[in-house]
């Protein structure tokens, strides 16, 4: 940019706008990128949609009349059914993208030093999404949600020590008049935290990605923007099919009934994206056991960069890749078994799948990666 050109009114006051065009066209990015490395961007786009539709829902949502206010949104608000569908389907799409991102992380192993933080940010996004998703599930005020919230709040007040204190602080005591209002506030606040963690993820990723140079380098625009556009079109296509033909895909059917404090459902059903976690929670007995199992389930993901013993340059062998695919099927089975009707068989399967999950990370991963690390 030549200096004799007078910068525009806005550019002289907001300098970052001045070289905006030069920067997005700067040839610093690699020509060949993996298709699925686009997933964090897809997740961000999905979260923006969730935030926009959530803003509209928050205008009409009333914690004191949770179920009725959602019925009002669905029936009376202009296009309210569609906005509700955006939010429900958006949750499904974002979770789908996050599960896919974690699966890809296990397979491609981008967490090797010095990129551990990239992986940890991904796990943090997953953990926060699980919490936000669970909070959103309680906000519906349906028959299943009510009891999930009641049990969680009661369990939190039964826990002793620091976890109990945090639980009481979070839920404000047993499920009562003010509880859903708190859940709504945490649902929104933690959703905003996810944006911050995604920004952290982007910064961590840029820090470990060396800039491409020479003939192999391309600019962000138009090379990457057009690829993002293609990803967005694919996203929109799947999204439209779901929102118009299966708006309640993977949601708990029990929640179509309003909450009833006098009727306890036989089995609590969770949305599909929470089902594997509810399966993990069933591994250990009692409330404390459930919490420990879920925290441990996320903990092994956090520890993965150090459980992988293949060394900085070790390549993943066939056996390891095979085991990752088995793990994906295992998580799928865990969710399926946890959300199928209560029976002796599904109980055994849940334990079996949950044990395999921990076995994979704690035993098989170190073993196989060190075997395959020549």
């Amino acid at each position: 940019m030549s200096t004799d050109v007078k910068p525009s009114w806005t550019a002289s006051r907001l300098p970052f706008l001045a070289d905006w065009e030069a920067r997005i066209a700067a040839r610093t990015l690699p020509r060949e990128g993996a298709y699925l490395s686009i997933l964090p961007w897809v997740i961000t786009a999905g979260l923006v949609l969730l935030a926009a539709s959530g803003l509209v829902l928050a205008v009409y949502y009333s914690p004191a009349h949770a179920f009725d206010s959602i019925q009002f949104i669905d029936r009376d608000v202009n296009n309210g059914w569609l906005v509700h569908g955006f939010h429900e389907t958006g949750a499904t799409m974002v979770f789908g993208a996050v599960y896919l991102m974690l699966f890809r992380g296990l397979l491609a192993r981008p967490y090797k030093a010095p990129a551990e933080l990239v992986w940890l940010a991904q796990v943090a996004v997953f953990a926060l999404l699980l919490l936000v998703g669970w909070l959103g599930y309680t906000l519906t005020g349906g028959a299943a949600s009510y009891w999930a919230l009641t049990e969680a709040a009661n369990a939190a007040s039964r826990l002793g020590g620091a976890p109990g204190a945090i639980g009481v602080w979070f839920f404000g005591g047993p499920n009562g008049d003010g509880t859903l209002g708190r859940m709504a506030v945490f649902h929104i606040a933690l959703a905003l935290v996810i944006f911050c963690v995604l920004w952290l993820h982007r910064a961590a990723k840029q820090a470990v990605t060396p800039p491409a140079v020479g003939r192999g380098a391309v600019g962000f625009h138009p090379y990457y923007t057009s690829q993002y556009f293609v990803a967005l079109v694919v996203f929109a296509l799947i999204f439209s099919v779901l929102v118009f033909f299966a708006p309640h895909f993977g949601q708990s059917r029990l929640n179509l009934l309003p909450a009833d404090p006098t009727i306890v459902p036989g089995k609590l059903l969770f949305p599909w994206y929470l089902a594997p976690v509810s399966g993990l929670a069933a591994l250990l007995p009692g409330t404390a056991g459930g919490i420990i199992a879920v925290v441990a389930g996320l903990g092994v993901l956090v520890a993965l960069p150090w459980l992988d013993l293949s060394g900085p340059n070790g390549r993943a062998g066939f056996l390891y890749r095979f085991l990752v695919v088995v793990l994906a099927l295992d998580v799928f089975g865990l969710g399926w078994a946890a959300s199928s009707p209560a029976s002796a068989l599904s109980g055994i399967l849940v334990v079996l799948f949950a044990v395999w999950y921990f076995l994979h990370f704690l035993v098989l991963t170190p073993l196989v990666t060190s075997m395959e690390a020549e």
Binding site: S53, L55, V56, D76, V77, N79, L82, V83, F86, A236
Partner: protein, 184 residues
């Protein structure tokens, strides 16, 4: 530079690329608009709130020399049917002799001159005025009287005395026919 331009035109890449860019951008904008429109539309009032904001009131049943009170937009609205004497008394009052000058025709709708529609709150102390019922105390001008600070209004809702200095506000409304008025 000239050579490059010539090449681009010669191979047709310039026009084809322009076409694809315009197509992609417009397709993207249509998709974006389709997503954003429901979100904007949903923030508008639903049918029930909209109906309440454009409330229709039946005025056929109001007896001469009395007024009804309805709530609209969070305010008490007084709808009063004037007598011939009240019209005659107020029709030719010189506006400049009033605290808040207003003509008779400013206060009523043409064709429905015997109906006065005002916000029934005193303009000095926000207090509900008395005088809707012929038996109520109405003050010296046979209009409305404030029970809180004694402000006096005539049947057209013009201030005639007391601490108040402004006439009663007139809400937005239209006569649909002889029997119905619609607010908003």
């Amino acid at each position: 530079m000239a050579q490059t331009t010539l090449d681009a035109v010669a191979h047709g890449t310039g026009t084809r690329r322009d076409f694809l860019t315009i197509l992609t951008v417009s397709g993207g904008l249509v998709g974006l608009a389709a997503v954003v429109w429901p979100l904007i539309d949903a923030l508008g009032p639903d049918a029930q709130s909209d109906a309440a904001a454009h409330m229709i009131v039946d005025v056929a049943g109001i007896a001469e020399n009395s007024a009804i009170s309805v709530m609209w937009a969070g305010l008490p609205i007084y709808i009063r049917k004037l007598t011939a004497k009240q019209i005659a008394d107020n029709q030719f009052v010189v506006p400049d002799s009033l605290a808040d000058p207003a003509d008779y025709t400013d206060r009523v709708k043409p064709g429905y001159e015997n109906f006065v529609v005002v916000v029934g709150l005193n303009t000095a102390t926000p207090c509900e005025l008395e005088g809707n019922d012929p038996a109520d105390p109405r003050g010296p001008f046979d209009g409305w009287l404030c029970p809180c600070d004694g402000s006096v209004y005539d049947p057209l809702g013009r201030v005639r005395g007391g601490p108040a200095t402004k006439n009663l506000a007139i809400p937005r409304f239209t006569f649909l026919n002889n029997a119905q008025i619609q607010f908003g």
